[in-house]
Symmetry: C2
Subunit: 740 residues, 2 copies
């Protein structure tokens, strides 16, 4: 316990200081206006920072009117934040000074650490050792915080908006965060705070997400992410906050090339595709793939705080737009349902012209409908209970575009101005979102006046809470994230979402530890694997070992026919390749013959193998073949796999992944996610299998994998599933040699 | 034969008149400047049309200084093109006048035809009847031609560029073509000609593509397409011209919603997804999905006439950009290979700073590298034999952006101006493409001055033959189309691409016609189906019918065991559901028992069915199960399917489609296209199957389907494939009842 109370609260209160420092010491600010330290002070001044600023350097007298201190020690005031721009090798020493001065937060702007190789990694370790939990460090190799409410910005951010908003941004990279903010500002988005946290030696993505999920100034969290430093904690925090705030992640480095470029950049490994798929499924975080998609989706969440549903009413000024819109809508997973009869009737009155569609999507025929018509259209669709939101395309709100395309027949400037007000008025009256598509039709340097007008119209709508997008595709992609966020949070029962508490010291754990002690190989034999799985509640066909022909017959007789016989030898893992497996033995005689044949075959094909007899197990009845597996992701820990047996896993890759611990929702969804799911529900006269039982099995394996960190990988393949229950017929557990 | 020689040449010569008319009669031009006819004349005048213009209307004296003629008859001059804007119901009459005046080409601008319903469809039929091949009609419901070389434009196109280029555009919709052209112009693209052809009563997509493939002024064909009028001819022409010119198709209406919106728009059905997939595979046409992708891809083909390879050398002004670029590159199917040792060595000298990557992708650390460094980088990469093209991102060519992000440390205006010349000079020297990414970082109305500068820089590069894109994703998507177009045309042997000549009057055709005569059901029985397939060269297990138990035994004995027995009854198609199938009968006794049991089961379960005995066939040896099928697409005709048997076709949908006639290349590619392909190559110790034999089978089925148009659908399922050969074990042919 310290002055801040318990650890987590302390951490978040301290993090606040990065964004609202009352005083900043800029270490490395020099007399040269080109030094980053001085540029940082200049940026703070231009941005209007109201706190105290102290310049610190080993030489020089004054910069930008500020006295340059030789050391922190010389400064009498309290310092909230140290901003460090001196060369990498001096930073550990300056951090000691910071701690001595009781500074709790520091940003290390300087590059030249792990991103440069082994030497840099050594420097980072030194930093971490130096701070030893006594100070929170952002960076190194980062731009640090931007926070309009706290009056602070980044070195290159003098022109960033001073107006606070509800969107937060966290990004490893400084340059990209600069691009994201600059772009988003143009789309009417304002920030609560942003942090570029660089190499994340101390403060990482998990700290920041934890802080922002509780930050009352932040309604929407956006993130640019190359790799994670503390994947497991990041996942746990994100999942614990499922649905609390929209959490948009632009995850890069998911491809092979991207991942390798990424590791040479920030020194953090990019996660594998499977783990990230699981991450997004389980946390409800929203995956975006491009800067456009990040910006558009932020626009949607920003300008439509109440969200929207999936059912689109669509208005196009021309027929082709209805096709484009319908395609884009369906591709994004949204719908254009039929209007109510009442709406259709009213639209048929409003649009008496031939060839116009008064069904959804609506074609008004040309881009200059009179404002009265637009008002009636908007009102009629807003009143329709089948419609959640209205999307408009190719209605020319632009005076200049109208002149170009319609010449003397274009509406007057006054008419155009009045048209602009129509969607705003109707949206306020009906409280149903209206979305406008406003493309940049002509993009040449000589048509910049059109773009200027387009942006003015766009900014007008943004200011009134109407989102504007550049194209149908971009609009529907963003809107679909918005509507699915709303749906996802109500789709699942709370009980299903409950994260199971970890097991500890269970009977299974004791059996497993016993196995660890006895097992000499990194892969225990089938009998050992199945025994421990059985203790974890997984139904298995438990083999019994026999060391002679007569014992084999006795075991089989007791077990009941048909049985399976396999060779037991630590040297032979792929048993059937050595003639070491016999299936469907129906009686004593067949068991005896099989024993002789197996022994002969194995002795011939693997003369040096130590033979520990054979294993006998009951042959399971035919059923639907399933596969469950577990592996450890280097960044996230245990990750489970589910699929159908046979070629669908290996060749078609039809599998689903989830990170542990599995909730009931995870288990349900990972089963439903595979393409072969209809086979589980019963297909072509085959009975359905026991899906709740399979869910239980997955959850048991999850608990088992969590409790036993010595398991590196696991394959339970095949599992035979039946109308009632399921049984694991073969299983392999691979132990982590480092831990055993 | 007529004055123009044979039909096709005649057609293309006549089509030329749409784009280069020496005189135009505008039918419907009135004294009102709001009439479309008069607006069209105004647009032609503004655009600078140099031919003769004649206004025609039933009333009025003069418009825009032109005398209004009462009829075409009154005009003494020759008329090349009639542009018709009068109401729909009068158009047939005016076309008669056109024909009487020996006018060979007419555009019907007027809407109100099939897009409005049954009455409109009637009017269209009347038009077609009226012209009767004596005149070529574009439209109705269209904007018609735009051709800078011919001095003509569309009603809304007075501001379109007068400069001719090498890109052609065809589109059903007028409004979209207007958008496409306006947008593309801003990106430095110029057109040879464009045609909006509306409802395509006469001139359709097939006519236009045929014309443009031979048009010497057109190097690149671009197309916006909702549905096709003459899918088969369109496909044949496009395929015949495989690789001749880049042919970009923005195909919309591929989704369910889009397709229904489309059919209410132009009266043409949108093709199904499977047929269109086959279309793109077989013609080499390039599928694009958005206006951005169409524009970007046109930019790539337009500004890089020689094309490029897949191997990218990448330069980023900052580390994050290397990750983004690598992701986008891989996602688009391009590569960033390792540089040669020589290049890496040189880059290490050029970039001595720590933390910068001098491997591919290259990070130069910040967005303001000196021009000397950029020149050396470009030269070094241009000289690298592993690299086909160079892509640059986040190098700030912009003076204004530099000021914002780097303040007093930004390079001078003169330095920036010199930097612009560097890529141009290097590209000219090494003749290796350089591509620049220039995003609109700040998009607010208040930052329009940045956008203005960005467009000037972009237009500067466009003018020098350097393509510029808005983002990494958009650049790599477009470039990948470009490089794959080049690769595709050299990847396949000419012999494999040869389109087989259609069969006619073969022995199979006679056997099939005989079957048609005899068959009373729309699905002939298995024996009939297999006999005709056998005659087409498909190996089958041919069943023999037996009407008694003794006969069944005799047949089986003669055939050799094991055999399969099935009930033969016209009322029973799903035989196994009625207990009517017995597999793997090994001897006389089993055959006899099976006969009795089948008869008993069928009599019990289908007491009213007429039983025509049983069929006996040799049971095929186990092999890899394949499925081949055929269906008829309403727009394209016969389309073949290939897949693996079992659940992979029905549940996982792992199938490939091709339209007939199949080339060897088609057969090869459709087999390789399925995800399960590794199973055919031999997997996990299974021997590979006879792939050339399977290709032959597909080509035989193709020829069979082509020669026998009475076949509506066909399922050959399963086919068992072996190390050598394959055999069809079951087959169903469904006849088209309309044709039989």
């Amino acid at each position: 316990m310290n002055e801040y109370g318990q650890k987590e609260t302390m951490s978040n209160k301290v993090l606040d200081r990065f964004f609202h420092p009352k005083s900043i010491a800029v270490i490395g600010a020099s007399e040269s206006i080109y030094s980053y330290g001085t540029r940082y002070i200049q940026a703070l001044l231009d941005f209007g920072y109201r706190g105290k600023i102290f310049a610190v350097n080993h030489k020089g007298e004054k910069t930008l009117g500020y006295k340059i201190y030789r050391s922190l020690d010389e400064i009498k005031d309290t310092i909230d934040l140290a901003f460090i721009t001196i060369p990498a090798r001096f930073i550990a020493d300056i951090l000691k000074e910071c701690i001595a001065k009781d500074i709790k937060t520091a940003v290390a702007f300087t590059a030249g650490f792990s991103e440069t190789g082994a030497e840099g990694r050594g420097l980072e370790k030194e930093l971490l050792k130096t701070i030893d939990g006594r100070l929170r460090l952002m960076g190194p190799n980062c731009f640090g915080p931007y926070c309009p409410g706290g009056g602070i910005t980044v070195v290159t951010g003098a022109d960033f908006s001073k107006e606070p908003g509800e969107v937060a941004l966290i990004a490893q990279t400084g340059q990209l965060s600069e691009c994201i903010i600059a772009r988003a500002q143009g789309e009417g988005i304002r920030y609560s705070k942003s942090a570029s946290y660089g190499n994340a030696v101390d403060i990482n993505e998990a700290d920041l997400i934890d802080y922002l999920m509780d930050d009352k100034d932040t309604r929407i969290i956006t993130q640019y992410l190359e790799g994670v430093r503390d994947g497991r904690r990041f996942f746990d925090i994100a999942r614990r906050n499922f649905g609390k705030k929209p959490h948009l992640i632009w995850k890069v480095g998911l491809t092979q090339m991207g991942a390798s470029a990424s590791s040479s950049h920030t020194g953090s490994l990019a996660g594998t595709g499977a783990a990230w798929d699981a991450f997004f499924q389980q946390t409800g975080a929203i995956k975006v793939s491009t800067l456009d998609e990040l910006t558009d989706t932020t626009v949607a969440f920003h300008h439509l705080p109440k969200g929207c549903g999936l059912r689109v009413g669509y208005i196009s000024g021309g027929g082709a737009g209805t096709v484009l819109g319908a395609d884009a809508c369906e591709n994004a997973g949204m719908r254009m349902p039929a209007f109510t009869e009442q709406t259709e009737k009213r639209l048929a009155e409003l649009l008496p012209g031939v060839g116009l569609s008064f069904r959804n999507p609506v074609d008004v025929g040309h881009p200059h409908p009179p404002k009265e018509l637009m008002q009636s259209l908007f009102e009629t669709m807003s009143a329709d209970r089948n419609i959640d939101l209205i999307v408009v395309r190719r209605i020319l709100f632009s005076v200049k575009m109208s002149k170009i395309f319609s010449g003397s027949t274009a509406p007057s400037e006054k008419e155009q101005q009045e048209l602009l007000e129509v969607p705003v008025k109707v949206m306020r009256k009906y409280n149903k979102p209206i979305i406008i598509i406003l493309p940049d039709d002509m993009t040449g340097a000589e048509s910049i006046y059109l773009e200027e007008e387009r942006r003015k119209i766009r900014d007008f709508f943004f200011a009134k809470g109407i989102p504007v997008f550049m194209s149908e595709q971009r609009a529907f992609t963003a809107l679909s994230h918005l509507s699915k966020f709303k749906l996802k949070n109500s789709a699942c029962k709370a009980a299903d979402k409950k994260i199971p508490a970890p097991l500890s010291g269970s009977k299974t754990r004791r059996i497993f530890q016993d196995l660890l002690k006895k097992s000499t190989a990194s892969i225990p034999d089938e009998i050992q694997c199945k025994k421990v799985l059985k203790s974890a509640g997984i139904k298995v066909t438990l083999p019994v070992r026999a060391v002679s022909k007569n014992q084999a017959i006795a075991v089989a007789d007791k077990m009941g026919y048909p049985v399976v016989m396999k060779i037991v030898s630590p040297q032979i893992t792929h048993k059937s390749d050595f003639g070491g497996v016999r299936l469907k033995l129906e009686n004593k005689k067949q068991v005896g013959t099989a024993y002789n044949e197996i022994m002969a075959a194995v002795r011939k094909m693997a003369p040096k193998a130590r033979i520990n007899g054979v294993s006998i197990q009951k042959m399971a009845a035919p059923g639907l073949e399933l596969v469950m597996g577990m592996t450890r992701d280097p960044q996230f820990g245990p990750i489970l796999m589910f699929g159908l047996g046979g070629t669908s896993v290996e060749i078609l890759g039809d599998v689903a992944f989830r990170m542990t611990p599995l909730t009931r929702k995870d288990a349900k969804e990972m089963i439903q996610q595979i393409k072969g799911y209809p086979l589980l529900e019963g297909y072509r006269g085959q009975p359905p299998v026991d899906i709740p039982y399979i869910e239980d099995m997955l959850m048991k394996i999850s608990a088992f994998a969590e409790e036993n960190p010595e398991i590196k990988e696991m394959d339970i393949n095949p599992i035979l599933a039946y109308k009632k229950g399921a049984v694991a017929v073969d299983a392999r557990i691979i132990l982590d040699e480092k831990m055993t």
